[in-house]
Amino acid sequence: MKIGVLKESKTNEKRVALTPSAVTKIKKLGYEISIESNAGALSNFFNTAYEQVGATISPVDDIFKCDILLKINKPSHDEIEKLSSNQTIISFFSPATNSDSLQMCSKDKLNILSMDSVPRISRAQKMDALSSMANVAGSRAVIEAAHYFGRFFGGQITAAGKINPAKILIIGAGVAGLSAIGTATSLGAIVRAFDTRPEVKEQVESLGAQFLTVNLDEDGSSSDGYAKVMSEEFIAAEMALFKEQASDVDIIITTALIPGKEAPKLITKDMVEVMKPGSIIVDLASQQGGNCELCEKDAIVEHHGVKIIGFTDLPSRLPSQSSELYSNNLFHILDELTPAKDGSLNIDMDDDVIRGMTVVKDGSITYPPPKIEVSAAPKQAEKKVEPIVKPVEKKSSVYPAVIALASLFLVGAFAPASFMNHFTVFVLSCFVGYMVIWNVTSSLHTPLMSVTNAVSSIIIIGAITQISTTDTVSLVLASIAIFIASINIFGGFAVTKRMLGMFKK
């Protein structure tokens, strides 16, 4: 089947759905790939690079004839009109807020797979473009803040005076929040993070940030992997915390989003007013109304000297990286959809992941999908318990010593003197062996075994003392014993020598 990649039609969009390295991988699944000319130019993937990996550069009209169309942004109404029978589109679609497009697509046996409807289960992580874009956005949010912030992030002590490190508050420790924490700490800032889900504390701390909590016991985890809406008391406590922090920190980055709902208002006007002039707020929820009361979509608002950044195109501001991640997500989806690797698409509605992201199948709307429970949250809770099994401790008991003493006494009481002599030698030898063997390095245990093997053939001495017998049966048996023991002596020592010769520094 043929895959077509369209140049993104949205203004200011610099990303491309498929990069040349993903083309290589997708071709292995058996597909032919056509790309609209200069589709990747803004993210530094040029036509020649695509041609080198075997994709064809085709005019737009030809792309629209492909069986599968790959895009990033949801298709515009113009684009939907150009679609014809049996085509499949894979792109972001926002089916919940985009019902008119959804209606338009319910025609001509179209299939629409929505990238933002990939269920948040661990198996689907590699296909989750929302996560990979959130990762880019989180990191870029810090860079945008650094760009507009008039100071260093890291502290220094210079001849001209001391430079205090920037203090950053990150609200929401999801994918974007964690990515922002990582970037901010590596720039040297003091980072604090807040999240309603207590189980992310460990992850936040592992990235070098401080985890803030309110003094109220309420768990914000939910079964779908997102945070849930909290109680009123909790929100009140939370807002008090934010207000207190606002007067202290230089930068606030908010990432709080609850799917399908308007973003919660976490930073109010009076919080902005207590911030120091020159402070920055980056609002990653501005697409859904913003976490900050004053935020405006795709704009920078200045209030009391505080800049509030509401960009919604952060992933597109790192176009090469975002395209690379997005096209890897696409590859993993196509890999799932092409179980036979023969270049033919199989939309298996019994598969939870594929079912979840398919919003139109054969021209009829299949959104919303039946709810599936996500294991992510309970699993994480389970992780924290982590029972550590200790190796069974061998209790040292006095019984063996008592038994040994008793049996020694018995032997001494009944055995004749000649036996006791040998017995003394035997017991002492066992102890010498015990002391010597514990010193043997474990890497030489195999040579140890082969050499002890040769050594135990000392039994040949016994057979040699029997060789001078006149009894024929005895002579034959002793001869065999000498013969096989010699095999052992020569073989054992020679193979040990061979092995030891191999050990080189």
Partner: protein, 470 residues
């Protein structure tokens, strides 16, 4: 011709020299530098002992036959040692153990039918017991080693033999051996002793077979060391029988060596010696394994990504299992290491005590591939250090890197010390497919977020890495 040049006192003195040299032999193995000298001590000790006996008063005729037999056996031994593959070492050691066992049986029999000394009273009883025990240990060593050889070389199935009521079977055999032991010791003449001895030989022959046959493939390292130990005790018992202190000393050295190795192997699997002998690792655990729930999805990678991970790492730990040796991948690994060295990437090997099929086997296999021993580490030396390791590569290993040993108290391998590679940044597991290891346990490592799976033949995959790196 009579070569009785040395009197018995001189022979004894030489035996002392020999015994001391044997102790030095084992002492020499404490590190790689002195180990070669240690082997030379062993050879000289054996030479001194044999020559002293040869020239001593106990040998008075058949000198020519003796020399021919030694040369004949010796040349077979030399050929064996030249031909053996390093992967086949456990088989070789097993079959050589069987020879020691057989020699002990033969020496015991000759001593019985053709006694050199007359004993009376308690001394006679003790001597009879010595003969009986010596022959018994020798026979069990012999038949057990033959079965171990069959299992290790794949001629016999590696699965444990599960006879009904096998513990009772063992008990009955032991009781029978004790019973016939009593009638053997109390028999008035040599002729009366033949029957109980023959019955005991037969029973102990089957006892040895049953003992080893009922032990599973995963426990083979323990079995090999256990037989090593038996061969020593057999020599020691023969020493008692012949009133020869050299045999007693040397046998005891070997016996305790094998016992310690068995103990180390048991500890490495967190198993008691009794439960190993009782047999059946992997049989009781299958039910647990199948009950494990869906653990999520593994993340597979291809050669290009693997190569990328290698090249962006600063410190790499390679964790080899026996699967690496089966694929003969260690030679390719060595070539890769040499290339990585030129790129300033540090590579170490981490070895689990039961990684091969006998104690220290993996070290020998790596040494054969000329991997320098100073980059080969023991599990305990590295486990606390995985924070500093960017990439762990698991080649052909499974159970020894299974986190459920530490995390899941219900796991059949719970409590077994394992290599904790998941504490490092990334782990790549090279594996043919998703099958379980010897213990039949699911491995949660494969499903961890920082684990990547590279499916396919290890040697082939590594060869591809090599060509990509050049």
């Amino acid at each position: 011709m009579n070569l009785e040049i040395l009197n018995m006192e001189v022979v004894r003195a030489l035996y002392i020299v020999s015994a001391v040299l044997f102790i030095l032999t084992l002492g020499g193995l404490s590190n790689q530098e002195t180990s070669r000298k240690g082997n030379l001590y062993g050879i000289s000790a054996m030479l001194i002992a044999v020559i002293a006996t040869f020239l001593g008063p106990q040998v008075s005729s058949n000198y020519g036959l003796l020399i021919i037999l030694i040369l004949l056996g010796g040349s077979i031994g030399l050929v064996l040692s030249k031909k053996v593959q390093m992967t086949e070492m456990p088989e070789l050691v097993a079959i050589l153990h069987s020879l020691v066992g057989m020699a002990a049986v033969l020496v015991g029999l000759v001593n019985f039918i053709n006694p050199t000394q007359d004993y009376v009273g308690v001394e006679k009883t003790i001597h009879s017991i010595e003969i009986y025990i010596g022959i018994f240990i020798g026979m069990v060593t012999f038949s057990g080693s033959v079965i171990a050889f069959g299992k290790l070389s794949g001629k016999l199935s590696g699965n444990p033999l599960m006879l009904p009521a096998k513990h009772y079977l063992n008990l009955i055999m032991i009781l029978a051996i004790i019973y016939f032991g009593h009638s053997f010791v109390s028999s008035s003449s040599i002729e009366n002793g033949y029957l109980p001895l023959a019955v005991m030989l037969t029973i102990s022959f089957f006892f040895g077979i049953h003992l080893v046959a009922s032990i599973g493939g995963a426990d083979m390292p323990v079995v090999v060391s256990m037989l090593n130990s038996y061969s020593g005790w057999a020599a020691s018992a023969t020493g008692f029988m012949l009133s020869n202190d050299l045999l007693i000393v040397v046998g005891a050295l070997v016996g305790s060596s094998g016992a310690i190795l068995s103990y180390i192997m048991c500890r490495a699997m967190n198993r008691s010696f009794i439960s190993v002998i009782a047999g059946g690792f992997g049989t009781e655990s299958t039910s647990v394994a199948s009950a494990s729930t869906d653990q999520g999805e593994v993340q597979a990678i291809d050669i290009d990504e693997f190569k990328n991970m290698i090249n962006t790492s600063k410190k790499i730990a390679i964790i080899p299992g026996y699967g690496m040796a089966v694929a003969q991948a260690q030679f390719v690994v060595n070539e890769i290491i040499n290339i990585l060295k030129t790129k300033d990437i540090e590579v170490i090997f981490v070895i689990h005590p039961v990684a091969g099929r006998m104690p220290g086997h993996m070290n020998v296999l790596l040494a054969e591939a000329q991997i320098p021993y100073d980059i080969v580490y023991e599990m305990e030396e590295v486990n606390d250090d995985f924070d500093n390791i960017d990439l762990s590569i698991v080649i052909g290993a499974n159970d020894i890197v299974n986190p459920s040993a530490l995390e899941d108290p219900n796991s059949p391998i719970a409590g077994m010390p394992v290599i904790e590679c998941w504490r490092g940044t990334y782990t790549v597991v090279m594996k043919r497919g998703m099958s379980t290891g010897y213990a039949g346990v699911e491995n949660p490592l494969f499903f961890k977020d920082n684990t990547r799976m590279l499916f396919g033949d290890a040697k082939e995959s590594l060869s591809q890495v090599l060509t990509l790196n050049n």
